[in-house]
Symmetry: C2
Subunit: 208 residues, 2 copies
DNA sequence: GACGAATTGGACAAGCCTGTCTAAATTTGT
DNA sequence: ACAAATTTAGACAGGCTTGTCCAATTCGTC
């Protein structure tokens, strides 16, 4: 295991203040001196960890969004499969859980570091996802007022049943992921399936 | 400010390991010795903080659930108002944000302490809310498959737009709360408004 | 005003952690 | 095989924190 990977694990488990360089070195299988040679000091190492996690998470998210079902054959099944991929490969995996925890725990202490993440991560993710939903709506598969709102609500719905597990840092089972995705997508489609009623009713409030 | 309140603030800001008893004492306006006289040691103080937050949060949540619109006059407006109360008084307020952060940061280190919270907090909250939705469905206002799923999805939807703010420990504005609640309730009602189609389509997967 | 209880400030030991230094050992490139 | 670069183990100083002790002071109550 690389030094940065070990550091990510220890920072997440113990928090920044509680993380011990000796422990990181031991977990990485190197001497403490090597950690200092490579990364200078603790804060530097922490920044390297966050950058590494951010980069890998963003890559995973965009790879997954690329698999969005633009020409669905079975809309419900395709969206469920997409939601499961999203959860499995981006939200529930090691990098996703670690990054979330670091942001929650230390976000206020490093505003500029996480502002970067915020713009390139969720901001771009939601835009990209919203664009896909807009395309589905344009093709007549959905009836959507505001694609940005729909994208956020899609993610909220397919994760609705996993919140508690995430809160305690746990890893949901494959079955829980499937269950949450299925229930979420069904509700999403109940709300946004193509209707003949005017789209005005679904108009959303502008987002600040 | 009481010692426990000051400790909650410092534990949340700095994490358990980074929290400094001197700082807690200063923020509470007492001497360090008084902190030790009252609470013994750091871990004891931490447990007292979590118990205090858990208790107050649960009280707030149940008080708010008691205001659920059982006989709505305008279902959408009443649910939006309820969602805003829920967010304002339980999720976004000081206690709610602090407790969430402590659970996320230290939940794994104190499994039994937070298991208690888990059973009495979210577990009972969701049951109580699910019962209210079931009553609305029984009275013909909604068409719901599984009330537990609906309750979780309701909460997920009305918070969908606030996730990022929560992640970074921020406090959403009144306008953001209203916006998220409005968009969430509208989508919720689009999905669960009374329909004439058979309820079977909304049947949800069993929850593990 | 007087007495008991609580609070205060400060000193203090013990432990832990960071970050540096050094000399020896090991790996790497040629 | 040799030389350069890297890694290692350990010692070490400096700083910070926890938790205790104690004498002086303040507070609440009668």
């Amino acid at each position: 295991m690389s030094v940065v990977d070990a550091a990510a694990s220890v920072f997440c488990r113990e928090g920044y203040a509680g993380a011990n360089i000796d422990l990181i070195a031991a977990e990485a299988g190197v001497s403490r001196q090597t950690v200092y040679n490579h990364h200078g000091d603790k804060e530097n190492l922490f920044v390297a960890v966050v950058r590494d996690l951010t980069e890998r998470c963003n890559a995973g998210i965009f790879a997954t969004i690329a698999s969005f079902p633009d020409q669905p054959t079975d809309l419900e099944a395709d969206l469920i499969a997409f939601a499961v991929r999203m959860n499995r490969n981006c939200i529930c995996n090691r990098d996703g859980r670690f990054l979330r925890k670091l942001i929650q725990a230390e976000g206020e202490r490093y505003p500029e570091l996480f502002a970067e993440w915020r713009e390139q991560g969720p901001g771009r993710t939601w835009s990209a996802l919203a664009a896909r939903f807009a395309r589905l709506a344009f093709a007549g598969h959905l009836s959507i007022g505001d694609p940005d709102v729909a994208a956020r609500q899609f993610l909220a719905l397919v994760n609705a049943e996993l919140q508690i597990t995430f809160m305690l840092g746990g890893m949901p089972t494959e079955e829980e992921v499937l269950c949450s995705a299925t229930n979420g997508v069904r509700t999403f489609l109940s709300a946004f399936a193509r209707k003949k009623s005017p789209a005005g009713k679904q108009a959303a409030l502008a987002h600040a």
